[in-house]
Amino acid sequence: MIASDLLDVPVHDEAGAHLGWVVDLRFVLDGAPDTFLARARLHALVVSPRTRTSFMGFERSSVRHPWPVAPILRWWHRGTFLVHWPDVARVPDPDAGAGPEDTAAIVLRAEFTAYEPGL
């Protein structure tokens, strides 16, 4: 699996309702220490309900400048949330190619929790 297999993919809940798109992947360096850095564990998917683009990440950072670029992008990405990787029930098969959207979506578990995306 490569990062592009997950990025920009639509996200559905268990009932098939559309929740948004994966705009980024969050990693945490808390795995077994590798040679220099700890292993980067895929911690969560960043899901934006309104747009597929992850533009500059203002919705996740505390940066408020330059005005008005930052506030506009922040507002555009309002409602962005984080789903932890264990809440992901199904990932589309990367080798299947572009299928109908329902099968090409990431499906979450029924009892998934949405977290705030701030870094």
Binding site: M56, V63, H65, P66, W67, P68, V69, A70
Partner: protein, 409 residues
């Protein structure tokens, strides 16, 4: 310890490539001979704009070590940055074509050998400098020689115009015999030329070449504050010379040779000779700037090794890209196109490249992960945002204006 003058060589060379490249030399004279000084305000607006963004890009390069196109790729992602790359390369290579042709035209003024024969010589000379000469020496020599274009400013004084009359022309107004569309077309073209994207690519990469660190922020600021206003001043001087001598004579500028006529009138053979040296140096400097920018943008987008501070074998694809760009330039010139006319079409590509270049610079200059404590202050942000807005408006207006006016008639 380098002298003060040499410290600002990078800024001067960048500004010469932006304001006084072959296309702009002629455009400034055209504007002067048709509109007098009624478009000089655009140059002022452009100088402030390029100062703001060159300052930011230089600061990002000095603090984080990242040149502008690396930042563009990182912030915009491969697709949008790829679009910017295509548009920027188009602008830069078109300008390089004009510069190689411009060197040939300038050499023709001193030799009367047909410019078509000078083209391969000019291209070879540009390549040899890219291949062998140290970045430092290159920027100092071309920057200093380019300063001889100050001859245009001297000429304005020697011509002894009616200063009141000249000052009255500074008021923005559409001359009676020109249409508003043509006036605004030239306004957008002058603004786009002042803020042409390869200036920040070159300036920021040049900062990396010169090994700037946080300690060199003052030097970066000095480069910006000296170089670009000087470039703007010289381009207004060219317009003024044309407005004083060529406008009353009913001469419409269409070639580089006409630039020497006001100079001859003002200062005689000696000043003409000085200015011709300046023309050769400016077009040569602009050719170096655009050829290097081609290599910088491509290498930084794709993550290749780049830089003149490395031996060519340590940055082979960077050097290959520049060689190919020069081959393309010579090839295009061999088809006998007018090198000056080529740059008119770069306005179209600038419309795409300008916003996509300056937005990421503004964003990264505010990012503490890159800049630490050196993030933009409020003043720079206000200016940057205002200019981003102007850029978008100019970009949107550029193509319709070009079509309606047939590239300025």
């Amino acid at each position: 310890m380098k002298s003060r003058l040499l410290t600002v060589a990078l800024g001067i060379l960048t500004a010469i490539g932006g304001f006084l490249d072959a296309g702009d030399l002629v455009t400034n004279a055209v504007v002067g001979s048709r509109f007098g000084l009624s478009l000089a305000w655009v140059v002022l607006v452009g100088v402030v704009g390029i100062c703001v963004f060159a300052h930011m890009s230089g600061k990002v390069a000095a603090v984080s070590g990242r040149a502008t196109f690396e930042v563009i790729r990182e912030r915009l992602g491969p697709t949008t940055a790829g679009l910017n790359l295509a548009a920027s390369l188009a602008v830069t290579v078109l300008t390089l074509v004009a510069e190689v042709g411009g060197i040939a035209l300038a050499l023709q003024l001193a030799s009367s050998v047909d410019h078509r024969l000078w083209v391969p010589v000019a291209a070879l000379a540009v390549w040899l400098v890219l291949w062998r000469v140290k970045f430092n020496l290159m920027e100092n020599v071309t920057g200093l020689l380019g300063l001889t274009l100050v001859g245009f400013a001297v000429a304005v004084f020697l011509l002894g115009p009616d200063w009141g009359d000249l000052a009255a022309q500074l008021v923005p107004q559409v001359p009676v015999q020109e249409s508003a569309a043509v006036y605004w077309y030239f306004a957008v073209a002058l603004f786009g030329a002042a803020m042409t994207p390869y200036e920040v690519f070159f300036f920021s990469s040049g900062g990396v070449e010169d090994g700037w660190t946080v300690k060199d922020l003052a030097s970066s600021r000095l480069n910006v504050m000296v170089g670009f206003p000087l470039g703007g001043l010289l381009s207004v001087s060219i317009a003024a010379c044309a407005a004083i001598v060529l406008l009353p004579a009913g001469i419409q500028v269409d070639s580089m040779s006409q630039l020497t006529l006001p100079i001859a009138e003002a200062g005689g053979t000696l000043l003409v000779a000085v200015v011709i040296v300046g023309l050769v140096a400016a077009t040569f400097g602009a050719a170096l700037e655009t050829a290097l920018s081609t290599g910088y943008t491509l290498s930084q987008y794709l993550g290749w090794s780049w830089g003149k501070f490395r031996r060519p074998a340590r940055a082979p694809r960077f050097h290959l890209a520049m060689i190919l760009a020069l081959v393309v330039a010579v090839g295009v010139l061999m088809t006998n196109v007018d090198p000056i006319a080529v740059t008119e079409y770069s306005v179209v590509f600038s419309a795409v490249a300008l916003p996509l270049t300056y937005l990421p610079i503004l964003v990264v200059a505010n990012d503490p992960e890159y800049m630490g404590e050196h993030v933009n202050g409020r003043f720079m942000n206000v200016l940057g945002t205002v200019y981003l807005f102007i850029l978008v408006v100019a970009a949107l207006a550029a193509i319709p204006l070009m079509i309606v006016t047939e590239a300025g008639g």
